[in-house]
């Protein structure tokens, strides 16, 4: 934390080494910078591919614990029977083939002074710049009776762990007609704010098609939610009487869950369920704590221009783990941030001033077959935070035709195919 961010004067190799001996601050040498990226999702893997494409002289290492990545966007379509789980799944083979070193391990510690990352394999990686893109972790202690262990019975299905989605799908399929599905939905900030309501729509579609006497109750920790008017209007038309949304003021705040008795107690009521999907409150992925880049909120404040942590030099944070004003927690925004962070790193490593970016987010939610809605936003850095550009962005129109909804469903699929092909293909 002692070095100036940019030294205008780039020293030569030998002089740089000599300077390091004389001055208690990082010196600069010329050569092949090494960037280590932790987390191979929409943020981290996008960043790796973009770095490789725009500056092949940088050595890029991607650290990812999973060999198969299950993409969360559109994965609710698997629950609805609209998509196959295999359509959500990608390996890192093409990323390796593109010249990126992929290390199959978990990052366990970061030494910001020595600029090194420790891995679960016992190895250590040194870096010039570190990018953390770990996504979210859960506040496992937030709901009484729920824990990481209990999530093997009552899935969250909210990460890139494909087993969790398969588990929820199997439970829905095994449920009797007439059963009750309970969803427990967290406060914001959380990954993909419209996601729980897309999931409710897709579960309702599955139930309507296969178990028409079943019901879905959403126990929410928020009094309003993303695209609420659009979702509620669609539910009324497509799934009448099937979905009950319970806000905190109506008693939706969950006090505790009993996995054995299959009951959920809220502030006012007790619910008996057949299948429960519990999405706990969230914080940044846990490596951010080890790296000391998460603040008291559990999220990681960043400079919106460079994505560099405000708490540690040479560590950049992208994706759902980062906070900077209105910066949304979406896969789309994470992928854009990955590319913008790559461009900022190339400029910084070439001793050029970073450029103030514009960042776009566009999230599709599947509501029924051939029926999707979206929320878009354009953002720019103002006074150290992302601020939405006025007059731009917004949600799909409330009075749109079914043809419009079908177009959006087509574009949702097209976006997914383009973005995942660019990252994993």
């Amino acid at each position: 934390m002692t070095a100036p961010r940019n030294r205008r004067q780039v020293l030569g190799g030998v002089a740089g080494t000599a300077a390091a001996l004389l001055w208690p601050r990082p010196a600069i040498t010329q050569g092949t910078p090494r960037v280590v990226i932790v987390g191979g999702g929409f943020g981290g893997a996008s960043c790796a591919r973009a770095l490789r494409e725009i500056e092949p002289r940088i050595v890029v290492t991607l650290v990812e614990a999973r060999r198969v990545y299950t993409a969360p966007p559109l994965s609710n379509g698997v629950l609805g029977g609209l998509r196959e789980l295999s359509q959500q799944q990608f390996t890192y083979d093409k990323i390796t083939a593109a010249g990126i070193e992929v290390v199959n391990a978990a990052a366990t510690a970061v030494n910001a002074q020595n600029r090194s990352v420790s891995l679960s394999t016992g190895d250590k990686l040194s870096y010039d710049k570190l990018v953390l893109a770990p996504g979210i972790d859960f506040r496992w202690d937030a709901i009484g009776g729920y824990s990481e262990k209990v999530s093997a019975q009552l899935p969250h299905a909210w990460t890139s762990d494909g087993m969790q989605i398969a588990l929820l799908q199997n439970q829905l399929q095994a449920m009797e007609d007439g059963g009750v599905v309970a969803m427990v939905v967290p406060v914001n900030p959380a990954r993909c704010p419209p996601g729980p309501y897309e999931r409710a729509s897709m579960i309702a579609h599955y139930l309507k098609t296969n178990k028409p006497n079943a019901k879905l109750v959403i126990l929410d920790n928020k009094d309003t939610f993303s695209m609420q008017q659009l979702f509620e209007a669609a539910w009324k038309t497509l799934y009448p009487g099937m979905i009950e949304w319970v806000s905190p003021s109506a008693g939706g705040n969950v006090a505790s869950i009993d996995a054995a008795k299959k009951t959920i107690e809220t502030d006012f009521d007790k619910y008996k369920f057949s299948v429960a999907n519990v999405i706990p409150p969230q914080i940044a992925g846990r490596i951010t704590v080890a790296a000391s880049v998460a603040d008291r909120t559990g999220w990681c404040p960043i400079d919106p221009i460079t994505f560099e942590s405000l708490l540690q030099k040479n560590i950049h944070v992208i994706g759902d783990a980062a906070i900077a004003g209105a910066l949304p927690k979406s896969a789309f925004a994470a992928s854009v941030a990955g590319k913008l962070c790559a461009a900022a790193l190339v400029r910084i490593l070439a001793d050029q001033p970073p450029v103030t970016p514009k960042l776009v987010s566009n999230c599709y939610s599947l509501v029924a077959p051939n029926y999707a809605i979206s929320i878009a936003g354009v953002y720019q850095p103002v006074d150290g935070q992302y601020v939405e550009v006025e007059g731009a962005g917004g949600v799909s129109p409330l009075d749109a035709t079914l043809q419009f909804r079908a177009e959006e469903a087509k574009f949702a699929d097209a976006w997914f195919r383009t973005n995942t092909a660019a990252i994993f293909g």
């Binding site: 002692t2 070095a3 780039v10 080494t17 390091a20 001996l21 001055w23 601050r25 990082p26 010196a27 600069i28 040498t29 010329q30 050569g31 092949t32 910078p33 725009i54 500056e55 092949p56 002289r57 002074q113 020595n114 010039d128 040479n314 789309f332 854009v336 590319k339 913008l340 461009a343 190339v346 400029r347 490593l349 070439a350 001793d351 050029q352 450029v355 103030t356 970016p357 514009k358 960042l359 776009v360 566009n362 979206s374 354009v378 550009v389 731009a392 962005g393 917004g394 799909s396 177009e407 959006e408 574009f411 699929d413 097209a414 976006w415 195919r417 383009t418 973005n419 092909a421 660019a422």
Partner: protein
Amino acid sequence: MLLALSLVMLPGAAGAATLAPSGVAACSNCHPKAGEVGGDTALPPLTGRRASDIVSAMTAFRNGKRQATVMGRIAKGFSDSEIAAIAAWYAAQR
């Protein structure tokens, strides 16, 4: 801490000189490079298109003259000069 590590920097700025304008990071999330996505895609590639075509499409999306699901909402976030820079960059790609 007495000894600090030496930060390795790139000699010269070849890569940085040809960086895309930041808006391209969003365009390329949906619009594939030619041949990047197999089969039918509902979204046209922008690479290699004439700059004037991209500028007139974005302008029409922005002022609502061209119907769209989401492009109107996105185009409204970009200025004339930003659109021109994005268009020029795409036109120069092969």
